[in-house]
């Protein structure tokens, strides 16, 4: 079985999971929650297997490297990280109802990676600039950060829905606002920590690859902007006591920056990170 076959199955797996999570929201049967959670873990397992298989296949081709080197591979890994981080927090807080947004995002990322004609899914050898041990550390840490911000984006949407329509059927599903707010804060802290480590590892790597730990490359600059937005959220929360709605709105804005750092910079601005476009 080839990795691309496994990963295309995984794409539909995430679609199935998002349908389950959405029907959990609609029908509100706890048993659906168990099914959704179980299938999410199964798909995550298959997703992990697919990634490892692709890694192995690259070694079989004699150009072995971690599957983190181009747009296709980063999308696949991004979807994996999003669901891994989400399931980690779901386990911790024991509430499966937030799953709809992350699993839908994971499905979209996988579908875009698999079916867009602009995305090349072939395993390519590493260009000289990417031949470094920092590749794994840098990409994994950045994506853990992005993934956590994606989860926080989902929670923030739920929070806003619940705040605006407190008596809707949807709102009655979720645990109380305090849990939601704390959950959001925890994911933002988690994301901020990993984004910071991602920027730092990238910076250390850039120092040996490009000869400078900071070159104001558009990707660097946009990741710094993203970082500044979340830094502002954290400061506003701890110094100015911002809670709830404001944090949720800022988290959504922050996730917009994440998306622009990831997609917008690749397609609209040119720079040193150009290998992420194909």
């Amino acid at each position: 079985m080839s990795s691309s076959f496994v990963l295309s199955l995984v794409t539909f797996g995430w679609l199935a999971c998002s349908i389950l999570y959405v029907s959990l929201m609609v029908y509100r049967k706890p048993s659906l929650g168990h099914v959704a959670k179980l299938s999410a873990f199964l798909v995550l397992f298959a997703h992990t297997a697919g990634l490892l298989l692709r890694w192995k296949e690259s070694y079989d081709m004699g150009i072995g490297h971690a599957p983190l080197s181009n747009l296709y591979e980063s999308l696949v890994f991004g979807a994996w990280a999003l669901m891994a981080v989400y399931l980690f927090f779901e386990q911790k807080y024991g509430n499966p109802v937030f799953g709809a947004v992350p699993s839908l995002l994971a499905f979209l990322a996988m579908a875009y990676a698999s079916f867009s004609p602009g995305v090349d899914s072939r395993i390519q050898p590493l260009i000289p600039a990417l031949k470094s041990n920092w590749l794994i550390a840098h990409v994994i840490t950045c994506f853990l950060g992005y993934a956590a911000f994606g989860v926080s984006f989902g929670i923030s949407l739920v929070y806003i829905v619940k705040k605006k329509f407190p008596h809707s059927r949807l709102a009655s599903l979720f645990t109380d606002m305090r849990v939601l707010e704390e959950f959001n804060y925890q994911t933002i802290m988690f994301g901020f920590l990993w984004l910071t480590i991602g920027i730092i590892t990238g910076s250390v790597w850039a120092n040996s690859a490009w000869g400078s730990y900071w070159s104001w490359d558009p990707k660097e600059t946009w990741s710094l902007i993203t970082w500044l937005v979340y830094a502002a959220v954290l400061h506003a929360r701890s110094v100015r006591n911002w809670r709830g709605m404001r944090v949720a709105v800022m988290s959504i804005a922050g996730f917009g920056c994440v998306l622009f750092t990831y997609f917008g910079v690749n397609f609209l601005l040119s720079g040193l990170h150009a290998y992420a476009t194909k």
């Binding site: 910071t196 910076s203 250390v204 120092n207 000869g211 600059t221 400061h235």
Partner: protein, 457 residues
């Protein structure tokens, strides 16, 4: 006047100022990613027109080199000052939290906490106090007691993680360190390029963004440059083999690849670019009218003199790819008392009608190129400060997020209602995790009570 200074100071030391600065920095950074960076002023004027408002803005606000412009550096400096002053201003508050003990242990006060419990004890006052002392002592280490347990009222404070209050200062200090490292690097270091042809040596570094060169205390010779390709044609490796020379003496040999720089006496060399130059070219000149051909071999610094025609043939330049038509050489022919004539000669298209200079058709029979390597050269004595800042940043960030100052207050009251225990708790962060911990402490105390009950019977 004093008022203005006072209010300015108050603004600079405020979080509001920090937020404004961050927003301004973010917006300027965005502008920098949209406007092409590194374009010289002349090019900007040529692109947008001399009288255009856009060109005026870009050249006067240095938007074409925004991140190194005086105003952007000034903003970064103000941010550093703001971080330092905010820290200084905020520090006494943290010290207060650090030394402050919430001494009012009356049940009424404890009940007001958002996290509080109340339960009864069926044991003697002394026994109850002893149990609580033991449980809290195990979980929190030191506890501080008020009142002797004889008055019918006993209270204590237990806390841990008090140092976590200072971790956020560590983060700010790390940022200052990083900025300091960058400053030291920009003042005491340099960054530039060196282009060395295979076999040549050089000791001059052309500095980036300045019309200046620096002379290294040693010479670098490029012995060889290689490009390796994968089977599918993608580049696999760019390698420069160099030798460091001091005077005429070979001091060290090294191999420089992308991602594998080489450092000598604090100066680091990075593989940045490469290219090829023409080394020797063999040309066939044909005079179609006379029906005659001549073959000449020319080097860039050695023009060929064709005696029979009285002309001198020069090779001036080489392009690896001339507008998509493959390699081409620029050839010039000089004849005494005539204007020199020249043209680009396409190597792969000998029949191309443009391969003609004056009356001669020119074709390239053979050519040899030679690589040159482009090395980025850097000296940055501040980089270690930046690394320390990075390391400290991660450590303090972890500590700030996942370590907290946790307090538990207990009051045991013996009155007409019997013995009652009041407990309250508060954590500086992660209140949910602390809530679970607090519940555990309460459960442990109650379990100890029930065990005593079992023993007592």
């Amino acid at each position: 006047m004093q008022n203005i200074i006072k209010s300015t100071y108050r603004f600079i030391t405020s979080l509001r100022c920090a937020i404004v600065l961050l927003i301004v920095l973010a917006i300027s950074s965005i502008i920098g990613t949209v406007i092409p960076q590194g374009m010289p002023d002349e090019a900007v004027i040529a692109t947008y027109g001399r009288d255009s408002l856009k060109a005026w803005f870009i050249t006067h606000l240095h938007l074409n080199d925004l991140y190194h412009s005086p105003w952007f550096q000034f903003l970064l400096t103000v941010l550093a000052v703001n971080i330092i002053l905010c820290t200084v201003e905020h520090f006494p508050k943290t010290m207060k939290l650090w030394t402050h003990e919430h001494r009012d242990l009356s049940p009424e006060r404890l009940k007001k906490f958002s996290l509080s419990r109340e339960f009864k004890s069926d044991f003697g006052f002394k026994q109850t106090v002893e149990t609580i002392r033991k449980v809290l002592g195990n979980r929190f280490g030191n506890i501080k007691e008020f009142n002797k347990p004889i008055d019918g009222q006993w209270g204590c404070i237990a806390h841990k993680g008090r140092f976590s209050l200072f971790m956020v200062y560590g983060i700010h200090l790390s940022i200052i360190l990083i900025l300091l490292g960058a400053f030291v690097g920009s003042v005491l270091g340099f960054r530039g390029m060196m282009t060395i042809v295979e076999g040549d040596s050089d000791n001059l570094v052309r500095l980036a963004r300045k019309n200046k060169a620096i002379k290294l205390p040693f010479t670098v010779r490029c012995d060889d440059f290689r490009v390796e390709f994968y089977e599918n044609g993608m580049p696999k490796e760019y390698i420069s083999f160099i030798t460091v020379l001091k005077g005429k003496m070979e001091v060290q040999k090294a191999r420089i690849k992308v991602n594998e720089p080489f450092t000598y006496e604090g100066v680091t060399f990075y593989q940045a670019s490469y290219g090829s130059l023409i080394n020797e070219v063999t040309l066939v000149l044909t005079d179609p009218e006379a029906g005659k051909s001549w073959t000449v071999t020319v080097k860039p610094d050695k023009p060929a003199f064709l005696e029979s025609q009285g002309i001198t043939v020069h090779v001036l330049d080489f392009r690896e790819d001339f507008s998509g038509f493959g390699p081409a050489v620029a050839v010039a022919i000089m004849e005494p008392n005539k204007k020199p004539e020249g043209s680009w000669i396409l190597i792969k298209f000998p029949k191309f009608h443009g391969n003609r200079i004056g009356k001669y058709r020119v074709a390239v029979e053979d050519y040899k190129t030679i690589y040159y390597t482009g090395l980025q050269v850097k000296r940055d004595p501040g980089v270690w400060i930046v690394w320390i800042g990075f390391g400290a940043f991660i450590v303090f960030l972890f500590a700030t997020f996942y370590w907290s100052y946790r307090n538990v207050w207990v009051s045991v009251v013996h009155d007409n209602d019997g013995i009652r225990v009041f407990m309250a708790g508060r954590s500086s962060r992660n209140s949910f995790a602390f809530e679970r911990e607090f519940d555990k402490v309460c459960a442990e105390i109650m379990r100890a009570f029930s065990m005593m009950e079992a023993e007592g019977r």
